[in-house]
């Protein structure tokens, strides 16, 4: 079941109705847990069993260890289990669906297009926090299991802090308030628009250029367009999924953390990572970057460099076992280290140029750097990435044609209907990005506005691409 599919929304509507039939908090949580297990069961019985067993194991282990003395050896033991399960599922996933991006729909049947990784990270963090005595163990197994399985966000996050999430479960609302319904519905609609009106329109070309023979892009210009479009597509696809996850949770009065903060406006790669997939980056920062930087802090700059390398090495492995992910991670390590060394000069430049001109230069530059790294992130193999890279640096054949009209957002062999569709998607993407901040404020308004909601629905129905059958990209991770 794909978040955003008809089945998903039927499940959401049904769960919402049953949820508000009950007044008892435990019963409300039970409804959410049953719906979550039902959601997981669409991917097979193994994800259900794994998720429940891991929840029970982590819940009782933390409780027992806390009571009888949480030794470091116990922490290593339980988190070895968590990491091994995560690695095992990642490995099986890659064996089964091969290329992550070109996987056909059948890929959904395989165990872990699901976010086993996401709740594994939650459990690892939970054990560390209990070991460090940052808080006491959760007392309700029901709430704990729900924090791992909660269906609106189990596939791709946001990553929860288990203790904060279970605390929020203790105050579930008795009525569906106008605020929760309006904000929830608006977020779901904008998420669907991002996915179906914008991201979907880029799929044809991106798949053609990255997955075709040799591997599809004919010239350096095609490669540039493919990388730029992929960065935009990934943002709209992934943040669209997050909007649906956050909006759906809101129907039950649950506030999930925001995972994006307008990353395409970033003026540096470090800023990009503060705005992109925020809950995952916070996890890496808190549980890898800071401990490493703290341990080696006396070595000053070298400690920072080492901490960045450790963080991105693990981040690259998290995304997949391929060499292409390692190159992607290495590029970001390089960007961040260079940025760190040039920080004082960049600040001086910002003062000299004034913020406006600095932004004009460094926002596109950051986008270009991230898009270049995505060439490796999106390529199906190292050989494909190498071929694309060679085309990119072949300046003699960089443009497909000498006439301007044939290469503005246009490849040599694009079909007319797909070209028009993609251009329309591009136009919507730019319009969205220009008004992103204002729109976000509007989406969080709690007054139900019939004209606004009607506009969103009609816009989605008229311009949505509904039948391509692709999954959310980040479900692969």
């Amino acid at each position: 079941m794909n978040p955003g599919s008809l089945n998903y929304f039927l499940l959401l509507i049904g769960t919402t109705i049953v949820f508000y039939l009950f007044n008892d908090n435990k019963l409300k949580q039970s409804v959410l847990l049953l719906a979550s297990l039902f959601f997981l069961s669409f991917f097979g019985i193994i994800p259900v069993i794994t998720c429940v067993l891991l929840s029970i194991l982590n819940f009782y282990f933390a409780k027992h260890a806390f009571k009888y003395g949480y030794l470091f050896s116990k922490l290593v033991a339980i988190n070895t289990v968590n990491v091994l399960v995560l690695l095992a599922f990642r490995f099986v996933n890659e064996l089964n669906i091969g290329s992550l991006f070109s996987a056909p729909l059948i890929g959904e049947q395989f165990i872990v297009a699901l976010g086993i990784g996401f709740y594994s990270l939650q459990n690892i963090a939970y054990q560390i926090d209990i070991y460090k005595k940052r808080y006491t163990p959760e007392v309700s197994l029901l709430s704990f299991t729900l924090s791992n399985t909660f269906f609106t966000r189990v596939s791709s996050g946001p990553i929860l802090n288990i203790k904060a999430f279970t605390a929020s479960l203790s105050t579930l609302p008795s009525k569906l308030t106008e605020e929760n319904f309006t904000v929830g519905l608006q977020r779901i609609l904008i998420g669907a628009i991002k996915k179906l009106v914008i991201a979907e329109r880029f799929s044809y070309y991106i798949n053609l250029y990255f997955d075709g023979i040799d591997p599809g892009a004919k010239t350096g210009y095609d490669v540039v367009i493919a990388c730029f479009l992929f960065t935009i597509q990934l943002y709209f696809d992934f943040s669209g999924y997050m909007d649906i996850a956050i909006g759906s949770a809101r129907m039950f009065g649950i506030n999930l953390s925001e995972n994006f903060n307008m990353p395409l406006r970033s003026q540096s790669v470090s800023e990009w990572w503060r705005r992109w997939h925020i809950t995952l980056i916070n996890w890496f920062t808190q549980y890898i970057y800071y401990p490493v930087a703290y341990k080696f802090r006396a070595r000053r700059m070298m400690a920072t460099v080492f901490a960045i390398i450790s963080t991105f090495a693990i981040s690259a492995i998290w995304h997949g076992f391929g060499v292409t992910y390692l190159i992607w991670g290495s590029l970001h390590i390089m960007y961040l280290i260079i940025e760190n060394f040039l920080k004082k000069d960049l600040l001086r430049l910002n003062e000299k140029l004034t913020s406006f001109y600095y932004q004009l230069i460094f926002t596109p530059l950051t986008f270009i750097l991230v898009s270049f790294s995505n060439l490796f992130f999106r390529s199906n193999s190292l050989a494909d990435a190498k071929r694309l890279l060679l085309k990119l640096i072949d300046w003699r054949h960089f443009f497909p044609d000498i006439s301007l009209k044939s290469w503005i957002l246009n490849g040599v062999d694009w079909k007319m209907e797909f070209m028009v569709s993609m251009r329309l998607g591009f136009l919507f993407a730019i319009l969205y990005l220009l008004f992103e901040e204002k729109l976000f404020l509007r989406l969080n308004k709690s007054k139900f506005s019939i004209p606004f909601i009607t506009f969103l629905i009609v816009f989605l129905v008229v311009f949505g691409v509904f039948n391509s059958g692709t999954r959310f990209i980040y479900m692969n991770f």
């Binding site: 920062t285 800071y290 802090r297 006396a298 000053r300 920072t304 901490a307 920080k343």
Partner: protein
Amino acid sequence: MKTSEQILEELQGIFIKEFSDSSIVLTDETTAKDIAMWDSLTHMGLMDTIERHFEISFSLDEMISFKNVGDLRTAITAKLK
């Protein structure tokens, strides 16, 4: 025994030297957002300098829990007692 004001003054000196920025003026409300060079990449180095200067030691949790200079000053004062 150093007073709270002395600690703030010494902290200001450390910040100015650490970030090569003589325009820094610290108050209890100053946060990382107010000082361009102070971010997650430079935070641990800064903490290391502060530890050495005052001959104290912070735990990791303490280092990442300081929300502003006021929190930092309070923690230093407590450790110097």
